[in-house]
């Protein structure tokens, strides 16, 4: 069973780059274009980890994180903010909203994957996928 990761970013380029990098590691990827859609996808797919941009139309990433944390099933799910904003004051906003990590764009896929491993290996209830292992197809909403 693969890890399921939700990518929320209004840039199709970023989503495609992340999808390619994460699927290469065996992850199952769910995409959303803004915070509102991200919330909906998260409810529908119960993912293991969320990667979200901040500056997005309809609903920004900080607001989405706040809303996600109100859902019991996402109370402890790792949430990464992937943004071009380097200001530590903004990172503090992310922390207050409930995010676990602040990562600057552009991010190298290997660096991101290490952070994902670190976050997910810490969760003993989750299955761990060996890097490079052959991963069977996932079913939607599986954990």
């Amino acid at each position: 069973m693969a890890w399921s990761i939700l990518i929320v970013d209004d840039s199709s380029l970023v989503r495609s780059q992340l999808r390619a990098a994460l699927e290469a590691k065996g992850a199952h990827v769910v995409e959303a274009e803004n915070g509102s859609e991200g919330l909906w996808r998260a409810r529908e797919n119960l993912v293991d980890l969320v990667i979200a941009d901040i500056h997005m139309p309809v609903m920004d990433g900080i607001r989405m994180v706040e809303e996600l944390r109100k859902l019991p099933e996402y109370a402890t799910t790792p949430i990464f903010i992937l943004t071009s904003d380097a200001a530590t004051s903004r990172a503090d906003e992310g922390k207050k909203a409930g995010a676990n990590a602040w990562i600057l764009k552009p991010v190298k896929p290997d660096l991101l994957w290490k952070a994902i491993e670190k976050a997910l290996f810490g969760r003993s209830s989750l299955p761990a996928v060996q890097i490079g292992a052959v991963v069977p197809p996932t079913t939607s909403g599986s954990k």
Partner: protein, 301 residues
């Protein structure tokens, strides 16, 4: 912007430098014209706030050296561009003598040479070198994901030129500094960069290329903003505004001067236009005092 954007043009009444005055006006200077060196000296002795003097050979035939010495006495920081008829085959860099002009331009003065001279002499009046470097560094950091991009020809103040291209994105920003960043690529160049960022994706539709331009603009602006964030200047910005202007060479009216950077990789060009409407120069003098995240750094919260 600084309040000393005033230029004195010394030219004979027949107006050999009339186009120069138009160029300077486009670059955002207030232009004052006087016909003789005597009138120029009278003006300078009143100690006005002045950035630049541009003098034509017609107006400087007699008394030029004395004039230069007097200018250096009254306004040692003012920069001087001197027209030279039949004396200098090409634009000449600044001689080292204190009483020499900063730049000699052959007459008739060519617009590109004039812009280049003004850029070299006055860039810091608009964009302190630290900001210029921050813009260039930010561009290279973001485009560095595709090896081989380099800054072409440095960066310069540009009149009547813009990053507007087939596909462009602009992000206005406000706060401690205000202005905009525009990134523009031709369709062909956008396709090449997209393929470099995300190999194997076919077809590359125009909306995907537009998205690429917007994301480049967003990420580069984020890196530039980090430079200001380090100096405790907060900046707010939104999402990119996309402009499709196929084959456009239109200028971006009312947004001059801009700090223009072109990044080049083989035949691919990415144009940037960074415009600052307002910033506090005093903030730039302060040491870096706020921690910001570095590229490749992950902050666990």
């Amino acid at each position: 912007m600084s309040g000393d954007k005033q230029v004195l043009v010394v030219d004979s009444a027949n107006g050999a430098l009339s186009f120069v005055m138009e160029e300077l006006n486009d670059l955002g200077f207030r232009v004052i014209w006087v016909p003789t060196l005597a009138a120029a000296l009278e003006f300078i002795e009143a100690r006005p706030s002045l950035s630049l003097i541009v003098a034509s050979s017609a107006a400087t035939k007699v008394g030029g050296l004395e004039f230069l010495a007097r200018v250096r006495d009254f306004a040692p920081d003012v920069r001087i561009i001197w027209g030279a008829k039949g004396e200098a085959p090409t634009a000449t860099p600044a001689p080292t003598n204190r009483n020499s002009p900063d730049s000699l331009l052959p007459e008739p003065v060519r617009p590109d040479e004039l812009r280049s001279a003004i850029s070299e002499l006055l860039a810091e009046h608009f964009y302190p070198p630290a900001i210029a470097e921050a813009v260039k560094r930010a561009s290279l950091e973001v485009l560095g994901a595709v090896p081989g991009f380099q800054i072409e020809g440095g960066a310069f103040l540009v009149a009547n030129q813009t990053a507007l291209s087939d596909l462009s994105a602009v992000i206005p920003f406000t706060g401690g500094v205000s202005g905009h960043l525009m990134v523009g690529l031709t369709n062909e160049d956008a396709r090449a960069v997209y393929q470099a960022f995300l190999p194997g994706v076919r077809p590359i539709r125009i909306d995907r290329m537009e998205d690429l331009v917007g994301e480049l603009c967003n990420q580069i602006l984020g890196r530039i903003n980090a430079f200001f964030n380090e100096r405790s200047v907060s900046i707010q910005h939104g999402t990119p505004i996309f402009i499709r202007a196929a084959g456009s060479t239109l200028r971006y009216p009312g947004r001059q001067p801009s700090f223009a950077v072109t990044l080049v990789r083989e035949n691919t060009r990415v144009a940037l236009e960074y415009y600052l409407a307002h910033f506090d120069r005093a903030k730039l003098q302060a040491p870096v005092n706020t921690r910001v995240l570095r590229l490749g750094e992950i902050r666990y919260l």
